[in-house]
């Protein structure tokens, strides 16, 4: 097991190298103009431009720049380890801001994940127990509405309804949990709901179809044949088997959202990773883009490793002997 985890972690390093390389290449190849021009003021002289290039670390060829980036990444730079450099636009070190923003995004994503599991699993189970019932049809319909509603619109609608009109919840922005737990929850609730509804609908459908498949299995017939109470058959026998594939899915979805909650973060003015990567991309701020890409990549690799370990824990058939 230890060897397996070690091997997977080494693969993570390989994936990080590949992904950052691709990000680098896209940045340099896309015809978005010379980033140095943005930061050199109006009508810069050639001398100023060269100076800016040197400051930003753009005075070498792409290959050399990339190797220098890797070297700083793995060995650290003047801001410490891992060497993520400084933002082109603000000049501030990336790392401290990255951790701060990552915290907000992780709170947003994990909270939403808890919420969509809490909604999706019971709805899916109940639909599977009564397929084609009124509840099943209603949950399918409502689910389709949530899946097809654009997130930004849903977010704005929630803000209008709960914040502006009813005044139940706080509007936008972020309050740290350590500052004021109540305010923290009041600010996070709407982003959580907005982010989770579509996922809740998708998870409900997946749990439903897994449950329906499982309920048709021979071992469920055996459980009935030995006179187990229906409740135990559903929870311990059917649900358990139905949730095993959900673990992998959940890990991938959470990992994807770590770098991909742009819209919710923007609508609710949360200074997380998603809004930052958008900023980085729009402002040709390569170090920002690279840093968020890096975190997202590591999140995907680590969470899929966690999912695989959990999978083996839940299903003895895939455990190494």
């Amino acid at each position: 097991m230890g060897r397996y985890i070690l091997r997977r972690l080494m693969w993570t390093v390989v994936v990080v190298i590949i992904v950052t390389l691709i990000t680098f290449v896209i940045f340099y190849v896309l015809p978005s103009g010379d980033p140095a021009l943005r930061f050199a003021g109006k009508e810069p002289t050639a001398q100023v431009l060269a100076q800016v290039r040197t400051d930003l670390g753009l005075n070498h060829s792409v290959a050399v720049e990339y190797l220098l980036y890797l070297k700083r990444l793995f060995l650290g730079d003047r801001y410490g380890w891992p060497g993520l450099g400084f933002s082109y636009s603000s000049g501030a070190a990336i790392a401290p801001q990255l951790w701060q923003r990552a915290q907000i995004t992780i709170q947003l994503v994990l909270g939403a994940a808890v919420l969509w599991m809490l909604i999706g699993i019971p709805v899916g189970v109940y639909s599977a127990l009564r397929p084609r019932s009124r509840f099943d049809r209603a949950s399918l319909f409502v689910g389709l509405v949530f899946i097809s509603t654009p997130v930004f619109w849903l977010g704005l609608l929630m803000l209008w309804l709960f914040s502006s009109t009813l005044g139940w919840l706080q509007g936008t922005g972020y309050v740290a949990f350590t500052t004021d737990p109540v305010q923290w929850a009041a600010h996070m609730l709407m982003p959580w709901i907005t982010l989770s509804l579509a996922f809740a609908a998708i998870y409900a459908r997946i749990v439903r179809s897994n449950m329906l498949d499982t309920l048709g299995e021979d071992y469920i017939r055996t459980a009935r044949a030995k006179g187990l109470p229906e409740r135990r058959i559903v929870t311990r026998h059917a649900l358990r088997a139905s949730l095993v594939p959900i673990v992998t899915l959940l890990a991938v979805d959470i990992a994807t959202l770590v770098g991909g909650t742009v819209i919710v973060e923007t609508v609710f003015n949360l200074q997380g990773l998603g809004s930052w990567v958008l900023y980085g991309a729009l402002n040709q701020d390569l170090p920002v883009t690279l840093a968020v890409t890096l975190v997202a990549t590591v999140a995907v690799c680590l969470l899929s490793l966690v999912a695989d370990i959990l999978y083996a824990y839940m299903d003895p058939r895939v455990r190494p002997e």
Partner: protein
């Protein structure tokens, strides 16, 4: 006189389908005494499994239309409320299935699967239930039962898995064991062991056993009575000895011809030509008539009922075969080897 342990009386099970009701079981009557083994034999789709799933009330998800009575000790299980039925499954009737790998939960240790059966019906602690479960595994001949109980189904061999199923079905000491083709997925040597274990437990515990199989040879050694099913009906029924020695329905003759016999002059097995009829729209008259080599016009006019021919041996055939039963069958009747 006390009622038989299990009595099935004019059972019909029809499943709704787009093309009309599927008559999976159509007017079946059977009975079994305590301490005896009833062998139920027939091809796939003859209704044997459906009959006993109906007796366990395990068909409800497919919304069948069930008529007739299934009496356990004189009580019709088809009319019991669901809660009382749950107290029948396990404590009164144990059931084992064809494929023990798919019948066991892949994610639970086999010991836990047995122990939860005990805890579902009796007020015993976790530890106590586990101990009983290990003892039950030892009783069905599993070596190192203590260790095996902690394993998962995929870590056991096919024979071991079926032993686990038997231990699970019998742990609450039911009166009736329904074994639905328990050896179909197993090797021949393991088949003999499993049948031996079931028969041994029947004698020891005095339970009734229904042994469902698609092969007459499987039930020959252990059954006291045999019922041969075809297209949802019993076509022949009687003491095992009589059915093997003097099979009287052409379908039973056909089944016996598909069993290889040592020392027979013919080495070629004879399949029954044709295939079973549609259960949605069965042919008029005898269901077997279209495949029967001996049919005449009366066969396609009425559906023959089971008629007692003496000694508890009954068949559903209108053939006035002279010397009925004198036909040479290729499988030695059980018990006659010793006499010969």
């Amino acid at each position: 006189m006390s009622p038989p342990l299990l009595e099935i009386d004019d059972l019909t099970v029809h499943f709704p389908s787009a093309a009309g009701p599927v008559r999976a079981v159509d007017g079946l009557s059977l009975s079994l005494e305590r301490g005896q083994t009833l062998g139920v034999v027939g091809e796939s789709g003859s209704g044997k499994t459906v009959t006993f799933l109906a007796a366990m009330r395990l068909l409800e998800r497919s919304r069948p239309e069930i008529h007739g009575r299934i009496l356990l000790d004189g009580v019709d299980v088809l009319t019991l409320p669901a809660r009382e039925m749950r107290e029948i499954r396990g404590p009164r009737i144990g059931m084992i299935f064809q494929d023990p790998l798919s019948a066991l939960h892949p994610l639970l240790r086999v010991g836990d699967q047995i122990a939860e059966t005990v805890r579902a019906h009796r007020d015993v602690g976790r530890r106590d239930a586990w101990a009983q479960s290990v003892a039950a595994l030892a009783q069905v001949g599993i070596p190192n039962a203590d260790e095996r109980a902690r394993q998962y189904p995929h870590q056991l061999s096919g024979g071991m898995r079926q032993r686990v199923m038997i231990a699970m079905a019998l742990i609450l000491e039911p009166d009736l064991l329904i074994a639905d083709a328990p050896t179909t997925a197993l090797d021949t040597t393991v088949e003999a062991q499993i049948l031996g274990i079931i028969d041994d437990l029947r004698t020891r515990l005095g339970i009734g056993v229904v042994l469902v199989s698609h092969s007459l040879a499987t039930v020959a050694d252990v059954a006291d009575t045999v019922a041969v099913m075809y297209a949802g009906r019993a076509v022949e029924r009687g003491p095992c000895q009589a059915v093997f020695a003097h099979p009287s329905h052409p379908y039973t003759w056909g089944l016996l011809d598909t069993v290889p016999a040592l020392g027979a002059e013919r080495s070629r097995l004879v399949p029954i030509p044709g295939s079973p009829p549609s259960l949605i729209d069965p042919p008029p008259g005898c269901r077997f008539a279209p495949r029967c080599a001996y049919r005449f016009d009366a066969c396609t006019r009425h559906l023959p009922e089971l008629v007692e021919r003496g000694g508890g041996h009954a068949d559903a055939c209108v053939l006035p075969v002279p010397g009925r039963g004198a036909r040479r069958n290729r499988l030695e009747p059980p018990g006659e080897e010793a006499a010969a």
